[in-house]
Symmetry: C3
Amino acid sequence: MTRALGVCYYPEHWPEDQWPRDAARMAEMGLRYVRIGEFSWSRIEPQQLNWGWLDRAFDVLADAGLQIVLGTPTATPPRWMLDKPPDMLAWDAEGRPRAFGSRRHYCFSHAGYKEECARIVTLMADRYGRHPALAMWQTDNEYGCHDTVLSYSPAARTAFQAWLARRYGDIDALNAAWGNVFWSMVYDSFDQIGLPNLTVTEPNPAHVMDFRRFSSDQVVDFNRLQVEIIRARSDAPISHNYMGRVTEFDHFDVGADMEVATWDSYPLGFMDEGRGKATEAMKREYARQGDPDFQAFHHDLYRAVGHGRAWVMEQQPGPVNWAPHNPAPLPGMVRLWTWEAFAHGAEAVCYFRWRQAPFAQEQNHAGLLRPDDAPAAGFAEAEAVAKELRDAPEVSAGQAPVALIFDYQAEWMWETQPQGQGLRYFDLAYQTYKALRRLGLSIDIVPVSHTDFASYAAVFAPGLAHVSADLAAELRCCPGTVVMGPRTGALTADFAIPATLPPDIAGFGVTVARVETIRADTPRALQGGGAATLWVETLEGGGDVLLACDDGAPVAVECGGGRIYVGAWLDAAGQDRMLRLALAESGLPLLDLPEGLRVRETETERFWINYGAQPVQFAGREIGAADVLREGVEVAV
Amino acid sequence: MTRALGVCYYPEHWPEDQWPRDAARMAEMGLRYVRIGEFSWSRIEPQQLNWGWLDRAFDVLADAGLQIVLGTPTATPPRWMLDKPPDMLAWDAEGRPRAFGSRRHYCFSHAGYKEECARIVTLMADRYGRHPALAMWQTDNEYGCHDTVLSYSPAARTAFQAWLARRYGDIDALNAAWGNVFWSMVYDSFDQIGLPNLTVTEPNPAHVMDFRRFSSDQVVDFNRLQVEIIRARSDAPISHNYMGRVTEFDHFDVGADMEVATWDSYPLGFMDEGRGKATEAMKREYARQGDPDFQAFHHDLYRAVGHGRAWVMEQQPGPVNWAPHNPAPLPGMVRLWTWEAFAHGAEAVCYFRWRQAPFAQEQNHAGLLRPDDAPAAGFAEAEAVAKELRDAPEVSAGQAPVALIFDYQAEWMWETQPQGQGLRYFDLAYQTYKALRRLGLSIDIVPVSHTDFASYAAVFAPGLAHVSADLAAELRCCPGTVVMGPRTGALTADFAIPATLPPDIAGFGVTVARVETIRADTPRALQGGGAATLWVETLEGGGDVLLACDDGAPVAVECGGGRIYVGAWLDAAGQDRMLRLALAESGLPLLDLPEGLRVRETETERFWINYGAQPVQFAGREIGAADVLREGVEVAV
Amino acid sequence: MTRALGVCYYPEHWPEDQWPRDAARMAEMGLRYVRIGEFSWSRIEPQQLNWGWLDRAFDVLADAGLQIVLGTPTATPPRWMLDKPPDMLAWDAEGRPRAFGSRRHYCFSHAGYKEECARIVTLMADRYGRHPALAMWQTDNEYGCHDTVLSYSPAARTAFQAWLARRYGDIDALNAAWGNVFWSMVYDSFDQIGLPNLTVTEPNPAHVMDFRRFSSDQVVDFNRLQVEIIRARSDAPISHNYMGRVTEFDHFDVGADMEVATWDSYPLGFMDEGRGKATEAMKREYARQGDPDFQAFHHDLYRAVGHGRAWVMEQQPGPVNWAPHNPAPLPGMVRLWTWEAFAHGAEAVCYFRWRQAPFAQEQNHAGLLRPDDAPAAGFAEAEAVAKELRDAPEVSAGQAPVALIFDYQAEWMWETQPQGQGLRYFDLAYQTYKALRRLGLSIDIVPVSHTDFASYAAVFAPGLAHVSADLAAELRCCPGTVVMGPRTGALTADFAIPATLPPDIAGFGVTVARVETIRADTPRALQGGGAATLWVETLEGGGDVLLACDDGAPVAVECGGGRIYVGAWLDAAGQDRMLRLALAESGLPLLDLPEGLRVRETETERFWINYGAQPVQFAGREIGAADVLREGVEVAV
């Protein structure tokens, strides 16, 4: 694998005579890729089709030696589209159509709009699918951004009814699966079923869960329509640029249809918005660096979504415009984020965007260039990475020693029924990820459909509210440690409590007799340190007690065969203790990294990454502030 | 009076072959009552009437020796009902119909839906009204739960206009009563009057207050329709299960039509949700016990609503599913809550529910049994109470030494015009109740329609914003101390300031010259301790000053004849001082109970109730953690 | 100029036989003006016109020697109006019509309603325009109160499209100006353009900004319609009573059509509601006095809006009814507020209201009289001022030594694109005003259209996001110090970043290379004290560095010719340092006033105003608690 840099560019924003200068400058600074096109529908088809400008943009960029990532323009249908297939707008949960005037206003379930998308993608793929400069396709842009997966429109309602009819066959099966006898919610026919918004009190969680599955499937279908059209007309790989911390659709399902997964990395905005639940202290200390684990988590996630092939399609190069606070990255961070992406296996990192636009919504979003064409602060750091890449060897990410299972359906299940205010699956999985990273481990994130666990020293699957028989069978093939819980196997696929109580998975001979959710400020201390908090289960059975509360109640139990069930949400100290117990016999070297320092090891390299604002000493090395130290893997720790 | 236990059961949720086993187990553990039916409309009338299953359930339960409480199913009309009388849905204050998919979606003002209710209740009463196992009726379920009293639907608007026409006769009378000359709000006819939502700034408080009265009357009418049908067909007493801390309709008015009042007691959920305004410290300390006064307050309230006959129809037996945090009760609390209900005069306590349902909205709500049929933690405690009841003597609640007047219209008046952010009548009344309890007093809560105050040593009526001439006359018959204020008699029935200023009640020769509302963090210290806070009146006239601010401003004045007017919201220390002054000559023994300990005395018994997590010593006794100590009344304190 | 007192009176609220007694009492206590009529449309025109009562009210008041301010009644159209020109209601940002039942429910863009207003104002001006007791007109009441400038109604949408067509001529010009190529937001015709609410993510800021300008223009047009009718029929000056801290329309534009500006001063309510962003500590300490600078700011602002002629039309005389907390003013404050208004050039101060109304929305709003006709606490203080005025000399406000430019369009620009959570132009301007006041300076607030800066020692213009060529030219005439920034000249009139980067104003040879917004709890320390916070610019070029961050980054730079650019939001200590540097050579005496004490100097007088609850010593004087000390200007400081 080689590594490369790129940039997002909007030729339609600039006079044509500037394009050649821009292209030359991109090439000169060492960029390989240019993404274009994804918001340009109103230029491509003002009323009549108008490909000329895009043809010329392709030529200018290709002439400069650049390779093109072409986005389909379906995230921003033009204003005239609203009158063509009427009612194409998504509706919000308050029951209101979302208005034209920004982006992503379409409803994934609208048949008329999907026809328009098929038409424009067909034309685009016919025109550019074999262009020699075309390196990759991107479908649409940031599915789900701005809360756009769930639509409560009439079109969505009709499509949901059809989806349910396909899933359940007849209405009695649905009534039985959902438990509609409760509160007399029984339906006589599919066309009586509404969307689960604006109910008096909470709707049936089975109703909500199916709506979540349906909504995700609508994204998959919408994307697949484009993929199939493109694939018939082009050999270039197809990708989508996912947005960080969006879980309203199943990225693995969407990603299954494409060759590459890319994502959009905005470390400062993400942390300040609270997407990774950073504490206020951390938000202060890392305001100009971002959460030291948040980017890594997404790199590891999208490497899995992309079947091993991942890019950063949009890399923050300076202050953004959309977070509560928008500081500049600390000097060094743009380079650090870029190298961190490569450390986690990214094939390319593209900066968003080439030149800051002086107009419209994102006019305060930094680019590599300022609006006056002078280099912005990120320019030199990107250029430095480009230089460093010239000397970088062929690399291979390889496999990490431990795996973390991440599941979008689990996220929806927890959201549908948190049982305690603000309890989220993502946070539980992410805190486990952070704890593994504090020990210096490199991690593979894998989906529940993963089929080869044999080579992992340990597999972690916290909070997997439903465990399929297939996954259970695959895990039985793992010779290492398998750590599950809390809330693992707590629900059937129909969103009911399993007949024999959780965890509903063979090999874990323990029973969750009761669940409590408790206040964060009343944690229950563990014997020996750490605490159970937020979600605490009462466990019966199992084998050796690994962790117990001060009152003796078991919290983590060894179930035999290397299977460990953890019956609580643990605080950081508790997580560390649990992981060290679980990995004690794995043979893996476990570090105790200082705050801000992280390490990532691939088959060929080791990267020490310091998010801190001060240099740090560790294991005989000094890693500078906001700096990355790259080593060959033969170096001992 | 004898005491008994019962349980809420949903035969429609379980296979018929399980019913006999369930019934036998209920009887065996000592339960007497089973409530059924209240959410079963879709089973009774899927499309055609289908009584068979309910007939059989009656038989099975009766055969086991159980007595049945039968709920009318009108809280959960089936989905097909939405198409039968169209527009039966309630509308929220945002102007949106509330959707099907949970419960309580009907509008109390919808004539078509009321016809349907009359039809099903008639059929049900005809069928089961004389069944030998029928012990009691329950109308509907938890009126007002999920904010369902106030509906802003077109049906409500039309009914409101008719209600106003009846109340005022002609539109000029309404304009005069409301003061509509203000801001040119004059109406020319009743059909011009809208509901008081979505106005530009606050609507006329007189408009709001009449809408509140109307909305309460709609509940009364809705309930009365069922009561009249049942009464013509059955001799069993009729009840409704009120929900704790619901004040949107007048429970005394609804209760006036029925023999028994029952309520649904969820101590942990109530406190965590903040229904009793517990501090965060208290929420931490009592997370697994509940607010030590909140249940008692409701027992005393519903004893009055039920004309002396009260039940707990739903008693929390373990973690619930709906509060921000849902811990398990401390061991002992299920028994404690049960005995506390009996101490306050309850005839029966029914646990909600028999077996935890594995499906739908309440799947995480504990029952006496777990979903796998094993006993849950509450089971043994309920069983223990059943055993204790076998030895319990005939008892009589009798009358308490002091009375607290509680008035739903006062709550609406404060809500309509709080004059200070978050000031609520309920909190004022409840804080007075708590202060009386800290002194070890047993309390009768009485409505403003109470007619015999002669036997009370003292009557407290804080915050009674309007005092009718009838109540004023009745209070004159009280030879003991009568303590009123703040904001007592501050408004006419038409929601205007009385001509001679508050308090508008004979016998209190004091004038409220001015009202201030102040920040909770700037209390005004009282001479001698305690403070006035939140609501502070400037008093003129009256007699001896009992309490005064540091600057000499009078806060509580003796008005002669044992009448005391309190011109401020007092903090806890101030409340205690005021009560001790007011009761100094009453001859009542005043205790100084430790935090967490409460005492309740009836004609025949005294109960020491320790909500604390630690045992407590008091007056030569030790009361265990989460325990109840029962004594005969001859024991001296 | 002479000074006088007045009062707001509602004869329609009281029986006619009370009017003469009221009028006599007003005259006796020394009031000169009575404002009437502004909410009386339903009395003037119940269905048929009915002028009789108003004729008689005029006569009664005139007979007592009082002069009348007559309000047009258009803020409260009667209920029947809703059926006459249908759809006259404003719509809120959620897309819902705002309901009848309070006030200000009309949409400024509704042609039918404007015709009705023209009709009633014509009739009123014909009838009273030449009445000898008429002193002044007031149009409508408190434009913008209760968030009523921005309407999202169909009428507003149509009017907005027409406004845009007039502004841009053709749709291509609009698309270019707004940058609609971004996100394919291009329009094909003006009738495609919607209002900028309910979009998926933020709408184009240029779209929003034009909607803000349009909405302000609608207020100007609505007001001008009335002004033109009145002016043709009356010689009395015309005014409007603006509400404090309302910035949704341009007060200078509305004021340009009228002779006098008046405003409604509610110091306690304003502070408690947070309109001046007082800290919680300040809210506690000044709960009964108000923010010591907030009234002064508005006096200075409205003196400019009124071309030198300003009144307080509504002065809080006791507790109000609408703030989160409503305490009584500290004794002395009613007099203090009144004298403070005069100190800042007010010609008259009218108390709101004569007698507290016992009914409707404002029944808990104090008047000079209580509802029982006894004097309320404010009465004696108003009477005292009336006595003091008898001895007061002819006075003249004159010009202040420094000017602060205040611009409503800047407020809209910051609101449209704050770039950091909660960053508001008003707060920045107000904090600069406060800092100037801490130095003891008297200030003129001036609009961007001001044309004579020659006589000011210094001009301050923080946050002026767009600077017109005209203003830039006028400022070049100022021989003193001109201090601009941050964010000055940051945007073109079309809401785009200027081609050569900010600040886009000649004479400031500095470039804003980058903008950061940072957390309030991570300020960047300045060398020598104080800090940059919230909004921090990276400056390039300019001349001498006046203030720099600890890392050397320049924060304030001298640009030559007395021009200073400040590239950050400064904390209070930083503001003080910056002002002292900027004014070092101005020759102005700079004080260091203790907290709570303010000084205001006119051509003829100096006022020491102590908002503190304790007496204060300063420069050889003692100023009492809540007191005002008036001196002739010959007294040295």
